[in-house]
Each structure stands twice: as C-alpha cells, then as structure tokens.
Symmetry: D3
Subunit: 247 residues, 6 copies
C-alpha cells in the first residue's frame, strides 16, 4: 500500500489497524561512470514498495535527496545541508505523528545519510522528551540500511566476493538494473577496482576517487543479481517491519 | 532525459549543450475522497518527464512534499514548514548552480506551493544579489503551474465546464488516472459540487470543506481527459522550456 | 485608532469590542529617479491610518522593510531575507495572538512582498494546524494590496491609461505626493516609458531597468490623483475590513 | 535628510560625501496607563530626524518593534524574539554595507533593546572578522541611547528630580507629548511612584509592576519638558554623529 | 557541589532542598602575550567552584566558549556566533528547567559575553512569557560578572591603581596564576600600558591593540593578588547566591 | 600542550610546526546511580590531555555538553538539540580554520554523540565543498571514540568480561575514578546487570532502564582498571594523532 497512491479515507482506515509506516530514504548523487544518480533512492523505494505490497503495510513518499556534499565535484549530485535535512525529516515526522502514526521505519539506501538520519531522530525524540503537555504521544523512529537486512550482506558477499567496495557497488547497481530495465550504462573503467579511503570534502573526494567509485567494480552488476537481492531484502523487510510494528 | 536515471558523465555532457534543468514540484496532501495523496507530485512529474523525453531536456528529481499545512486535518497529508521548504529548495538550487546550471524551471502541481516557491526564489536570488565575489554566476529560477501552460486552462474549461473547482479537481485527478492506471477510486459524495471559500489553518479548512474538496466534482475525472491534458501540457511545456533556456 | 499612539488600557478596551487589527506592510526600496525609497510603506500606512480613523478600527505599527533583493543595485534599498521576514512577521502575529487578536489584515504596498507574506501566513497557520493543546486560539491572517481594493484598479486605469507600468508607477508616486507634501522630485528620464520584463537578481534587474522603473512613466504623478486614489482606497478598505472582522 | 523620503539618486549623491547613516530603533510596548505604546520608537525617530535635518546627515527608516517580551502581559505590546531581531538587524546592516555605507549609528529609545542590539553588532562584526575575501569592506555599528546623549541625563535630573524611574518615565512621555501633539492621556494612578525591581518574564513583570510603570511618576510629563529634552538631545546628537562619521 | 562530579540521585536530592544552580560562563580568547586563552573560563569556574563548596550550592559545567569575534585575529581564539550562543544557552536552560530548576545564576568571566548573555535571557524568558499551557514553570536567569561582586572592584583598584585596563587585566591574570599554578608566562611588552578604545571587528581590533591587551599592564599580575581576589569574590558570591535563591 | 593554558603567541608558534589540534568532546548526562554526570567529558578530556602532554600536540577546550535527550528523565542531564550542536561545532571548527588549522581530531566520550558529530562534519565539509573562492583552505575533521582506540576494546573485554554493557559501563566509570580521585560513589543496585535494548525518547528510556544503566554492572569499576585503560588509550592516541596529522 502506497501513501501517494491512496486517498485520505484509505489512510484513515489503515490507521485503525496499524500506527506504523515505512519511509524510503535515498540520495541523488553520482555513482561512478555506470551507476545512476538516483541509485540510492531507487533501491530503497523499490524494495520498500515490494515489501509493502507483500506485507500489506503502508509505504510513504520517498525522501529522495539526502546528504551528499562529498559527491559535489561530480555533475548531477544534489545535496541538502545536514541542518536542512534534519528540519525536513522533522517536518515529515511531525506530520505523520499528527495523524496518529507512532512508528516510522526509515529504509535507507545511502551510507552517507546514516549520521544525519540519526541526528534527525534525536531532534525528533528531543521534542518528545521535552514535551510536558501530556498531549503529544511518543513517536519512535528507526533506521535500517537495505543492504543490512537479514541475509542481504551474506548474499552480496556470495554474489560479489571481490569488487563490492563501498560506493557505486555492483550490488546496488544490480538492484537498479533490475528495478529500472533499460537504464544500464556501459563505460570504460580506468582501473578495474577503484581505490578505497576516507571521506572529507568534495574536492578531496574527487582527488582520491577520480571516477566516483570507492573500492568497487560495478561492471560486475547484472539484473539477475538485482532480482536476488531484492527478493532477499523484501522477505527480510516484511518480517522486520512486523517486528517493528509490535516493538 | 531524467537526472536520476543518468550517470554523472551524461550530466557533464548535457551541460556542454544546455545550462537549464526542470524540477517537478508537488505536494503530498489529501485530494478529497477520490484523489490520490500524491496527485500534485504525480501530475508535475508525469508531464515533466514526458516533455523532457520529447524535448530532449533534463528533468531532475521530484520535490514531492511541499506546503500543505491547511490539509493537515486529513490523514496522510505531509507538509514542510515554509521556512524548511525555502531551505531545502535553496540547497537544491545551490547544488545545481555549483555544477554550472544557470536556469531552473520549476514545474509546479500545487497552488498552495506558489507563495513559498516564490519566496524561495527570492532567497536564492538574494544570495546572488549580495554576492560581490564575482565568482558566483547568476542562477535564474522560474515557476510554472502545469494547469496554466498554454492551452491547458482552455482545455480544462471545455472538458469540465462546471465542477472543476480549485482543489481535488477533475482535471488533476484525470491526469493521475491516466498517469497511474489502476489507481482510480470510487466514493459516495455527500454533495456533488464541494463548497468554495478561503484557506486558513487545518481545522478551519476541515470545517469548511468536510471531505477535502474545494468547489470541485471529481467524479467527472476520467483517464481520457487526463491524456488530453497531458498531451496539451507537454506540447506547451516543450516550447516554453526552450524559450526559458534562451531567455 | 493607532496602536502606537494608544496606551495599553485603550487596547484592552478595544479588544472587548473587536479582535481585528490592520498592519500596514511596505518596503524600503528604490522607486526610480522620482519615487521615494519609502513609497510602499508610505502608501500602505497613509491609507491604513485614514481608514482606521474613518472606520474606527485599530491600525498597528508599519512593517516598513520587506522583500526587495532585486532592487539592491540601487543605493538606499534595504531588504530582509525572506526567511527573516517570515520570522519577524511570525513574531508580530504571535504577539498579537497572545493579546487575544484573532484577525490580522495586512495592507500591503509592495508587489514583491506578496509571496513572502503568504509564505509567512502559512508559517503562522502551520503552528495553529499542529497545535493540539486546545489552548492556542486560531489566528487568521489576510493580505490585501492597496491597489487592488475595490475601485482602485479602475481608477488607476482611468487616471493613467498609459504609463502606469508595474514599478515606480504614477499612481503610487501620486499617493506619496499627496501624503507627504513637499517631497515631489524632478528628474530627466532617459526614456518616457520604462521597459518591462521579468525579475531575477539585482544585477540583472539593473541591466534590464537602468533607472529602476518598470514599464512606468512617473512624471504623470500628481497629488490630485493621489487624493483620489487615497479616498477611493479608504472607502473600500473601511468596508472590506468590516467584512474581514466578521468573516 | 531622510532615506525614506529620498529617491535613489539622492542617496547615491550622499554616499559621495559620507558613508555614515543613523537608524532610529525603538520598541512597541506598553508604557503604563499614560504612555504611548510607540513611545520608544517615537522618541528615537523624532530626535534623529530633527538632528538629521540640522546636521545634514542621513536618517534611515525606524526599526520600530524590538525586544519587549517582558511587557507581553499588557495588551498592545509586540516583540521580536532576540534571534529574529539579530537576523533582521543583520539584514538591514548588510543592505546598507552593500551600498557602501561604512558606519551605522543606531539611536536607541528602549533600554530592553540594548543587549540584543549589541549581540546583533557582534553578529554583524563576526561576518567581517571571518571574511577573508578582501572584498567585504568593514562596517562599524555603534549604539547610543538618546537619554544618555551629552547633557540629557543632567537635564532629566533637573526636570524630574524624583519620579523619573526607569520605565514609562516622565521624560520619555514628555518627548512624545511634544513630538505628537494631542496624544497625551490621563489616568488615575493607584500609586504615585511605581515600584522598582528586576525584570524576568512577562507574568512576573505584571505581578511586580501592576500598571506597567517601573519607579516612575509619568503624571509629571509635559510637552515643555519634552521640547527641552529634544533640543538638548538634538544638539548633542549632531556633534556626536559628526565625531562618529570621522571615527 | 559540582554537577559533573555528582550522580543523578544526588541532583535529585539537591532539588528537594534548592531549585537554584550556578553556571560559570567564560570565553576562549587571546589575553595578550601573557594571559591564558582560557582566562575567562578559568576565573569564572574557579571562583564558582570555591563558592559552591563553601556555600553548599550546586555548580554546573562551565560554558567555556563564548562571544569573541573581535579577538579572531589572534591565534587560538574560538568564538560562537551570537545566534549560536543564544541557542546553546537556551538548550542548557531548558534542560535545567525540565528537571525543576527555577533559578540559574550565570557567573560570567568575559565582558564581551554580557550583551549576548542578556539577549539569551530574553530568548529564554520569551518562551515563558508566551507559554499559556500552565505547565511550564517560570525560570529566572541572572548574570553577574565576577569582577563586579561586592568588594572586588574596590580590591582591584587598590591592588592595581594603574594598568588594570579592560582586557588582559592584571587582576584576571592574577586569578589564573593562583588557580593554575605553573602557567604564568613572561614576555617583553612593546609598551607598558596598552592603548584603549572601542571594539568593532577583529582586523580593526588588532590594528588598535597590536598585542591584544586593552589599557592594561599584565606584568603586574601575581598569584598573591589572585588569592585575594578569589577570596573576596567567593565571600561575596556565597552571600549573593543565597539572596538569589530566595529572590 | 593545552590551548586554554597557552597564550596566543604560543599557538602562533605551534602553528608553524603543526596544523592539527585535538578537541575532547563529551556529554553531561546521567550515568546510573554510581556514575558521574560528567563521565563522558572527563574521560575524553583526561585521555586527551595526557596524550597531548606525551605526544607534544595541542589539545583544545572540551566540548562538554552534547546530545543527551534520551537521558532527560534523570535529573542533572543537560542536552543540546542536534541542530544547536551542529551550529556550535561548526563555529568551533571555523574559528580554528581561520587561524590556519587544517585538521581537527575530535576525541569522543559519548556514543550518543556519534551521529550528530558526523552530521556536523558533513555541515563543515559542505562549506568547503561549496566554496569556490579559492580562499578557504580545506579543513578535515575526524572522530574517534576513546574506547575504540587500538587495544582499548580488548582491554575492556579482559577487565570486564561480563557487565560492561553500553551505558554507565564499569570501564568509563573506572576512568573517572582514576582521573578524579575521591569521586567514587556507592549505591544499592536493584539488579546486578542492567537491561539492554534500544533508545528512543527520555520517558521511554527511563521505563526501560529505571536506574539509567544499560546492560552494565558499574560496581565492577575501580581506579586501577581506570589507570590501565588510560595508559592504553593514551599510547594509542599519541600514535593515531601523529598518523592523522600526516594524513
């Protein structure tokens, strides 16, 4: 069930059965010469919607631009300042809380988002902690990266024993190839496996990782692997969301 | 051409031929008993992508949650504070400016966004006006509501001579029925044509417009009308975006 | 009745009879070689105070610096960032709400303010929409541009059938000549009627409109026209404010 | 010379002779049963304009709502949050700096503003201190309370040897009676001289100072005293502004 | 009693006997060739803790970085923007209020903090003034500069009849020499007594005060004077804090 | 070498040899019935200063209040909102960058700070990424939790094979017992080992962890263990800081 494809009476009805919703959260940032700029949002959104359909739970709109300052030396990247992202996530959460939601499960597609998402949770929970009116019910936020859902990390390891790396990975690109048929790119890679290292600002990033990849060989990506990853992730997500709902 | 389905070298290449991009901007808010919560984002996104394909220009990710405080008494609505929306739009614009974009055409699907979008433009242009470094090139932002594209207003009038109203209109719902097959809803309407009036806060809104519609009869919506509206809007948008690019 | 010329017991007494107040809102920005930098604040303030006297309603202090980033290439212009203006208007509104006011009618003198004023209203109404304490009573804000009061647009058309334009207009300058005797300026105009076009940042503005006017011939301005405009505006405003009070 | 009554070419000409401007800054807050809500803005504005006329220097628009949270239990008071006031003052100062002004002399009419004005100066100077572009010229802000201008404190002491107090003072009310003929109020005072003490929040303030005065007997106010105060203040201000301009 | 050396049950117990706490507040900024960068925080903290021990009251953590933009041309200075400092002090105060504290006495070590501290108080009291829930109890904040405690100004005058000045003073440096044995520095002074004057931005400050001192001769500092200052300040502070607690 | 105990010429000299500084960062929050409210700041500060002395590098002031909203149901806890913490850390970093520092190593004592610290890094690096002036040199921030320094995790495991838990741990309390002699507390524990689980808001936290501990048995703490932990951490920190300086 997708919020943006529902009418308000359907959400009203859903709330009589569950107070939990899933928000996919991604980023719009370069993913190397082969990866889509929308990779992180596409992965989170595709897996979330498939799981929502299978598990009968509600999936909200996708938070599609996140924290990507370090990718700004590659054209097409769009980033929020962390402080803006915290304000926006807080507004989303407060809107959902206003309608009676008590649990928001954020399915994340971008490692660079993790810190800011958790800081936003603290900002959201802060308001609850300081509220003494007795009128604001508690809202719990929880974060899960799709590649850490039960079984997915293991599957990635078996699919791509080398060349997975940490940015523009064959696994995430496989998911987009499966989710968005016809969008696979081809390009010459200067080096098969990209270098690895730390992340600071954008110029430094481009100097370290000239084509945008970190430690990965995305030429390994294929839609069949994408299907396997999605299937495994969806199965785990349905179970985990149910747990979260009850938690 | 869609940014989120492109790799960064494709955007780099695009920038050698054009400095203009289109950003669809909508809202996630109730649209009456029949309309989708995602109506405004869906309309703007669908028309934008079709025009981008036809006109060969770049369409960015959709800004999918906007200014909808007045719809908050209907479950499912999500809203940003205007100050958050200004911060987020500024971040998007500054990211695109950083890559060399000089024109952002925002195709809007929600009347309630207009004021805040224009305020955000003033915030963005303010930075240009106060910059004295000579290093920041000017960025121009422009807003167009899809229903005001050349020929669309007239088409709406001929398709729905009565019952168009101003919120949860048959025209926008027709577009979603065409763009998202299988999402049409049915519901009993307490009154055929909803009341009209001003907009203040959410509670007042619900008192005036009990089922969420303003002045409209959305039962008139149909996918065939949606196709006509999309076709007319796309034709006009392709022409207008070209003008904007040169302007 | 003017708030700044009243003592607090007078406002306490007023509140037993009415919960409505008018705030004049202008801008401090160039108005071409002939127009006063304070034109927009002067027009709104003068009309508001005359109407307040005639209609017996309360007029608050004038919000005299607004959104004028596009005029910054002309000396003397002062502007707020839109986000600052939203914060300041919110503080004014919350102060008045605290005393029991339930209606604020903002009489505006500057087209460039409209978007930010409406965004500020959304910010103010947002707080009401999200308040669940039952302790904050609703506050309604409403905007009216003085040149759109009943009869004024028509009068302008008849007084200045050509050369009214959209900035540094003969009508607004006529009002200041009437309201502030002795402040009329004279200057050579390079062209009789200034060019027209869109508005982006300040440098672009000055390039398009070298002496600051848009589409206008302010040499047509005269205090007699100013008197007619004020009289018509005041009559309409007294009626409209009464309606607003009851609305 | 008043900025709001000037056209931009006049300011351009002024800047060739002086880089200094005076901004009157007041508050809109209760001043006891007899004092005007606009007292602080009126005093600063009236003295500033008279001095500007005599000294031939430029006086900008009046910053008419300030820091008055502690007066909020009396109807009519309007206050900014300190953080908003800092943002607004920063915007005013940056606008003036943009045009080439290098000195802003803020003539203050409200003791409660002093801390926030000085904090705003620190915010404004902070930007200069951190700027390394070499492109932003330094801007110096300076604060003067009108009642501390040379000779004024002594005059107050001789005019009102007792009953001056610290809020709703006979001296400031005398100035408004002189500046705004016909606005003098009369009221019974429960006690001749109001109590004195510290200031915290609004409720506490009203408990300590039931009619809004602190330590004062405003029935002593008279327009003749007002004239003397204005004359003395104007003389001192002309001299001091000249010093400031050269400083 | 020091908060950071207590466990939470001890604070719970303290609150049954007193609702008052002292927060030392300083700055990290240059204090001339001889003075420690931490001088202001060290003085406030040392005196506060000694008084807390003697008077049996609670001393919180030290707010150790304040408003020091004007010292930024000297390496080692760290400063908050005033707006950040207001936000941080508000968070500290709201946390303490949440636990039931009703009085916060801020013992200040830095003249440059005074305006921003008082602006922060206004921001904190503003929230109380606008709260209508009846659930937020009032919190009173009060500021005291340690060098203005009863008897201290007189002692300074007698210890350092000349050369005290206003920044990097022998009195504050004496306190640090007493509080932090072994940290005394020696350096050649270009002039015995530093120049005096106003404060604007950092570059201007360094031009006026080349080695960072204002009007002072810190070579006069000695730990014996420091001990006398501390003893006098502590005695006065114990008495004053008790008064404040009851006030 | 400690910044707050240095005079500015000493920092100027240090900068000719190194562009790196260490900032200890903690929290002021409950640590169970036995732990000090200042535990996290004390641990980070003590280890940092000892390492700075041994390694000859510069240690700045301690950032002593952090992100602790979840501990707010225990008296004495003080917390910043994440957005305030980001603003404050940004100000600290910009101040240091202004003086020429290029590396800031933040030694952290509180798990709850990690997300917000990393979000603040993104905010700081964001400014570098968007700066096109060529005048702002890059600043790199890096985070290390003291308990993850080389060898420390292993040492903790051997010292406290059971009962370490994740909050109010015997290891951190041991460090404070060693660092602050005489501050050890004693208390009856309702259960030997506290429960474990997730963290949301403060009320929920207290319900899950009634005495404030998570999974720990702090009665195991002892100063001898503290000494071992400090010694191991200091050795690792000296090495790691040298690497960071060169990185």
């Amino acid at each position: 069930m997708q919020l943006h494809l529902s009418a308000w009476p359907e959400i009203e009805a859903y709330l009589t059965t569950s107070k939990a919703i899933l928000i996919p959260i991604g980023s719009t940032e370069q993913h190397g010469p082969l990866g889509l700029l929308g990779t992180d949002a596409i992965c989170a959104e595709y897996i979330a919607r498939a799981a929502g359909d299978e598990g009968g739970f509600l999936v909200g709109p996708t938070f599609n631009v996140g924290q990507a300052q370090h990718h700004m030396s590659f054209p097409g990247t769009i980033t929020l300042r962390p402080s803006t992202m915290i304000a926006a996530m807080t507004d989303w959460a407060n809107s959902l809380r206003h309608h009676g939601f008590e649990r928001i499960y954020w399915l994340n597609g971008h490692g660079g988002n993790i810190a800011t998402i958790n800081a936003a949770f603290a900002e959201i929970h802060h308001a609850t902690s300081f509220d003494q009116s007795g009128q604001t019910h508690a809202l719990r936020c929880s974060l899960r990266n799709w590649w850490e859902l039960a079984g997915v990390t293991e599957l990635i390891r078996s699919l791509f024993p080398s060349g997975e790396g940490s940015h523009a990975t064959p696994s995430e690109i496989s998911v987009t190839q499966y989710a968005c048929p016809g969008t696979a790119k081809s390009a010459e890679m200067a080096v098969k496996i990209a270098p690895s290292g730390p992340i600071f600002d954008a110029e430094d990033f481009r100097r370290r990782y000239p084509d945008g990849r970190i430690g990965s060989d995305p030429t390994l990506a294929n839609p069949e692997a994408g299907k396997k990853l999605v299937d495994t992730a969806v199965r785990a997500l349905v179970r985990e969301f149910q747990m979260f709902t009850k938690g």
